[in-house]
Assembly symmetry: C2
Homo-oligomer: 336 residues x 2
């Protein structure tokens, strides 16, 4: 056990795309857990697009990160010191914790992970925040019915890949939108998507979508926003449902962008659009977790991880999300 604790702080709020100057590494002493608290050694750290939002101080659903304090994100770690009743040394736990080698947390804030049920990293993916986001956004907002057509953007991402697979389990035609041939082959060949469109190489995304969705689009799960979303909205059916989960095309905007006005279309087609965040469903977490764990166990939801080694590479792993680098869930392995 190293004597020091490396932390990654928010050095300053980014304008536009974050870069190296957004992050600052510091070394501190390893913190001591107080009464009812434990010391967690970080094993894996999750980097997710939503964190870009918390780097700004604009009014939002989530408390912004504070400048000069550690960034936080999904962590799977090992309890190495416990002053808590129900957690012991060696237990594997997950929670939103510091980007650091070590964090201290209250026991009630941590969820225990059973390492025998599934690889522990799945607690940051299929049975973690991305999986729950997919589950509630698709099923509670999208309400897909058998035989309907579901389109998901950012389809190869952590959330999108689960959305598409749940939609397949519900008997839908599933069309994904992604940005590389590798991603497209993975989604079609391994995850069973009915069609996948490469938005980077297509000459006309709307025409390609139209061909891939001969009966129109009933459900749209949006991770990206921008022109992809414009094209999808213009093909929505009467009474279609749109879950706005992400807008990665806009996270680094420095001003409000212009786009086609679609509310007249929304009116004519009695369309539902709902922005959401997984914490809207906090009281149903158990339900989602159980369903996802069951599907995972039965092999009905597959997954792929992209693991970068070393806390020092966490900023670059995060920035890669905006370059579209990752096929599969992007994780950072911090220690063994």
């Amino acid at each position: 056990m190293s004597k020091k604790n490396r932390q990654v702080l928010l050095a300053k709020r980014p304008k536009g795309l974050p870069d190296d100057s957004t992050f600052q590494f510091v070394e501190t002493d390893i913190p001591e857990p107080g009464e009812g608290e434990v010391l967690v050694r970080t094993l894996y750290l999750s980097v997710d697009p939503y964190m870009r939002g918390r780097m700004s101080d604009a009014k939002s659903y989530a408390e912004p990160f504070k400048v000069g304090e550690p960034l936080t994100g999904g962590v799977v770690g090992e309890v190495v010191k416990s002053n808590a009743k129900n957690l012991s040394e060696g237990d594997i736990v997950t929670a939103r914790l510091d980007w650091a080698d070590y964090s201290v947390a209250k026991e009630e804030y941590l969820r225990k992970v059973d390492p025998d049920a599934a690889p522990i990293t799945t607690a940051l993916y299929v049975t973690g925040m991305p999986g729950l986001t997919a589950y509630f956004g698709l099923l509670d907002i999208g309400k897909p019915k058998e035989g309907e057509t579901v389109v998901v953007s950012g389809a190869a991402g952590a959330v999108g890949s689960v959305v598409g697979q749940i939609a397949k389990l519900k008997g839908c035609r599933v069309v994904g939108i992604a940005g590389s041939e590798d991603k497209i082959n993975y989604l079609k060949d391994e995850l069973g998507f009915d069609a996948v469109i490469n938005y980077k190489t297509t000459e006309n995304i709307r025409e390609e979508l139209k061909a891939a969705c001969p009966d129109g689009i009933d459900v749209y799960f949006d991770n990206v926003g921008g022109e992809i979303t414009d094209a999808v909205i213009s093909l929505l059916n009467f009474h279609a449902r749109v879950a706005i989960c992400g807008q990665i095309a806009h996270y680094n905007d420095t001003e409000i962008e212009m786009g086609p006005r679609f509310l007249p279309y929304v009116l004519k087609h009695s369309i539902l659009i709902k922005g959401f965040i997984v914490s809207d469903y906090a009281d149903r977490e158990e339900e989602g977790m159980n369903a996802l764990a069951q599907w995972l166990k039965e092999g009905k939801i597959k997954y792929k991880e992209n693991i970068i080694e070393g806390l020092e590479n966490a900023p670059d792993a995060f920035l890669g999300l905006f370059r579209g680098d990752n096929l599969g869930k992007q994780l950072v392995k911090v220690s063994n």
Copy 2:
């Protein structure tokens, strides 16, 4: 009883704003009702903005009007000949019927109006399509809670004026947006709105809205779209609800207009946006009708009508909706 039946036909589909060339007057024989049908003499005709949509043949929720056939709209009329079991001469009825002196309709298509319960014209307003639209859009989509702030655009129109009054009955702060001093005085002094903004004279609608809504906006009932809606959306609270009922700013657009992208804001604030049409609530019509009739009877919903005389003036009455002429529900009196 005149010997001839004047009808107003759709002469051609308008591009942009309709004008006189959109309409054609013809004289036909008075039709004969078949078995189970009645002949209805038009007393009042309702003109409503949604009819602009049906003049186009773009895919929409409503069957488009056919070129060369009579326009149809809300009518209150008198049964003058009956081959139907449950309707007799002299009965007052309402339905969507021809823009004409006379229409023939099947009995099951007509709703009887009790002339002793309220003035018969209210069947085209408070207890008719506009009232039901206000009722379901506000209560089912907007779900206003006591103490919340509700903003309604097109506030002096048939739908908007009922929306604001129901929101007041639910204990909300109600802020209207309208386009003339007469309308503003009416909404404030007679209907009890807490604040009303004149979008035509304001220098900065967003700033004025912000001042009128110190706690932000929880519910937005949109009848207009365009820049007014842009301003309202940018002030919505976390978990706000938006009912898209009308987009009159766009009905005469000949191409898709550009506007600020607001889906990132919708995401950050977990906002719901729902386009709707009153027929989405066909199975709850009775509930809405009873509630509205009760409020009307108790004087809790007030109304004002703007009545133009003569079928020949129906096109102009309709076009006036887009000029913002009318204070109160626009009706055409066709006969006594």
